[in-house]
């Protein structure tokens, strides 16, 4: 995964709440065995409108997306993160996310920034005309107008994003601990193995 530290550029002021994974990538785009090319289907229903933000001259290819509460709710489809990534989005800024989506985003080098609604409202205003700057290292979102919003992020997620870490390689270092757990489980609760 591509590491991420600083992202600057236009921010798509979507603003809607409860943007679900079926809106981010409709189910018919899920009939694939690869992770590639999903950007074409991203926000398909919204982009059916010729005046949509995503394809406008101003926001096409913008690296930041601003949304309302509960972004990415619904399905566990990682295709939603792949679609955003393929569209060129590296950062989403919203008051809250579904738990599964935010995990999927981080695993694909997309930073889910959480900020209160008041900050979102201000950024939506700035995004109409000017770029937004996101710095993961200092955990800040800033604008050309001296706005400065600090966000919280789980330290493990921050490390994964900054280093572009592959979690499987990390977990494989715990191979002995997993083996020990399995042995203990077999001894203490042997019935946990499927009977058939």
């Amino acid at each position: 995964m591509t590491p991420i530290e600083k992202v600057e550029g236009r921010a798509i002021p979507l603003g809607l709440k409860n943007v679900d994974t079926d809106v981010i990538i409709p189910a018919h785009w899920l009939k694939t065995t690869s992770r590639e090319g999903m950007g074409k289907g991203a926000f398909e229903t919204l982009r059916a409108d010729p005046d949509n933000l995503f394809d406008s001259a101003e926001y096409k290819g913008a690296p930041i997306l601003i949304a309302g509460d509960n972004f990415g709710c619904g399905s566990s489809r990682e295709h939603a993160a792949w679609a955003l990534g393929d569209l060129g989005i590296r950062v989403v800024i919203a008051p809250s996310y579904s738990d599964i989506f935010s995990g999927n985003a981080v695993k694909n080098g997309i930073l889910p920034v959480v900020l209160p609604q008041a900050a979102i409202d201000r950024l939506m205003e700035v995004a109409q005309t000017d770029p937004v700057h996101v710095d993961l290292d200092t955990q800040t979102v800033t604008t050309p107008f001296q706005d400065r919003f600090v966000f919280e992020i789980d330290p493990f997620r921050k490390m994964c994003l900054l280093e572009g870490l592959d979690e499987i390689s990390l977990t494989e270092k715990s191979d002995a601990a997993i083996g020990a757990y399995e042995a203990k489980l077999d001894a203490e609760r042997p019935w946990m193995r499927p009977a058939a």
Partner: protein, 476 residues
């Protein structure tokens, strides 16, 4: 004395392999369910990195999302080809990947095939006190038998295949207590729709919800699976219902469930899992069962719930400005006017099925309503899709299939079907569907489709009247 713990905390604690200094835990996964849509990229990842599946014995694969619900075999018993080439490729990938990586596989034409969340409990593969994951958000379903079960993305599917673990942060705990007795015509689906309407689509975000109270205890396992299935619609990655005698009676004798002395040991362990007296939750919501009516959604978020006796709300009636905007957008999409009585909304399509409502009890509830009645003329398409081949066989043994077909409803082969319309079962653009599934999102049942979420009995009632209907009127 140890600190009193909740059911969630006990299951979590029993699965910690390692804790990192930052609080992230490596959690052991007891059961991994795999289907064809979210797994091909994970298997490709394993192949590319030369990794194998650590515990194929704890992994079960079954195709469900893409399968057509029409006949799968010809008169000679030969497997029929899948017409859609993309669906066929995904199904073929699973059929190839499962044996290549040594994973248990239930074939599309096997008698046990079904929706993965119906198959798991039905086979006794899902057990109380286990951690269960699947690349599907409705994995929350298995919480109905007391398993800590949640949906994961494809990167996590690959992680579990390779290591049988996940790196996770502990969730907060939320109790949703439903006390008292529900009235006639009120089912588990109405209970969970009412809960979702009460807590909101993000009410459980960051939490695992434990459903407690006398109304939950009174539910069958089928009903509990329905409730826990939609925990995710309230934002919670997992739901939980403590295992009890109802759970034991359901699981005993199932193919993968423990037997003999193992069964006794398992029961003793499962009984120790209930939330301790004095344990506290981060959040508690109390609901009076008597307040729950047969329920229906009006909008495009599962939180958009009203009693069937209610009306389409005015967007201006919501306090939150962003909800006002969302409601106005929803109503435009749904083609509804504020103030319209829900019972006056005409319906062209009926879908009875999905991992939420496709078990035998759901089939019986729907059949009881349509028995001796006929599908309304304005209902163009009405399908009943059992959750598994075993549910289908049981329903047929009880004659339920005939009740449906006599009434003009179609009796189909098991699968996810029109819940998310990845197979050929789609609701046409601009048309309405009374659906027993779990999501009323824009385009969920096909581009432009308009979904009203209801219980199986309510879907059956809509099928015979051609409009959203208070099922209680047909129960007298």
């Amino acid at each position: 004395m140890t600190r009193p713990r909740t059911l969630y905390e006990k299951i979590w604690d029993a699965h910690v392999v390692e804790q990192r200094p930052d609080g992230t835990c490596l959690i052991f996964i007891d059961r991994h369910l795999v289907h064809e849509v979210t797994s091909p990229q994970a298997f490709a990842g394993l192949r590319a990195s030369g990794r194998t599946v650590r515990r194929p014995d704890l992994t079960l694969a079954v195709p469900d999302h893409n399968l057509p619900t029409t006949a799968r075999k010809d008169a000679g018993g030969n497997k029929l080809p899948i017409a859609d080439p993309e669906s066929a490729a995904q199904l073929a990938a699973l059929e190839k990947n499962a044996p290549e990586f040594g994973i248990r596989y239930i074939d599309a034409v096997a008698p046990e095939q079904g929706i993965v969340h119906v198959v798991g409990p039905e086979q006794g593969f899902s057990l109380p006190g286990t951690t269960i994951v699947c690349g599907d958000s409705h994995t929350a379903c298995h919480g109905g038998i007391g398993a800590l079960a949640f949906g994961i993305g494809t990167s996590e599917v690959e992680h579990v295949l390779a290591t049988q673990t996940l790196l996770l942060q502990p969730a907060k705990t939320m109790e949703v207590r439903v006390e008292g007795e529900v009235g006639p015509g009120v089912t588990a689906k109405d209970v969970i729709l009412h809960i979702t309407g009460t807590i909101g689509a993000a009410g459980g975000t960051g939490h695992v919800i434990e459903y407690t109270g006398s109304a939950i205890r009174a539910l069958s396992i089928e009903g509990r699976l329905t409730v826990s299935n939609m925990a995710i619609e309230g934002g919670a990655r997992a739901g939980l219902i403590a295992p009890d005698e109802t759970t034991l009676a359901y699981l005993k004798g199932r193919p993968y469930a423990p037997r003999g002395a193992d069964w006794d040991a398992a029961v003793a362990y499962w009984k120790s899992l209930a939330t301790d007296p004095g344990a506290t939750y981060d959040k508690t919501v109390v609901i009076d069962a008597a307040d729950i009516a047969p329920s229906v959604t009006w909008g495009t978020s599962p939180e958009d719930v009203v009693p069937i006796t209610g009306t389409v709300p005015d967007p201006a009636s919501f306090a939150d400005p962003s909800k006002q905007a969302a409601a106005a957008k929803s109503l435009a999409y749904m083609g509804l006017e504020p103030g319209t009585r829900m019972q006056d909304v005409r319906i062209e399509n009926i879908f009875i099925g999905s991992c939420t409502n496709s078990r035998i009890e759901d089939m019986r509830a729907a059949a009881a309503i349509v028995k001796g009645r006929k599908k309304a003329d304005n209902v163009k398409w009405a399908i009943v899709v059992p959750g598994s081949g075993l549910v289908k066989a049981q329903a047929e043994a009880e004659g339920l299939d005939r009740i449906f077909t006599d009434a003009g409803l179609e009796w189909r082969e098991p699968g996810c079907s029109a819940c998310l319309a990845m197979n050929p079962d789609k609701v046409p653009a601009g048309e309405r569907c009374a659906s027993t599934s779990n999501r009323n999102f824009v385009g969920r049942q096909g581009p432009g489709s308009r979904t009203h979420l209801v219980s199986p009995a309510m879907a059956a009632a809509a099928a015979v009247t051609g409009r959203l209907t208070d099922v209680r009127e047909l129960m007298a």
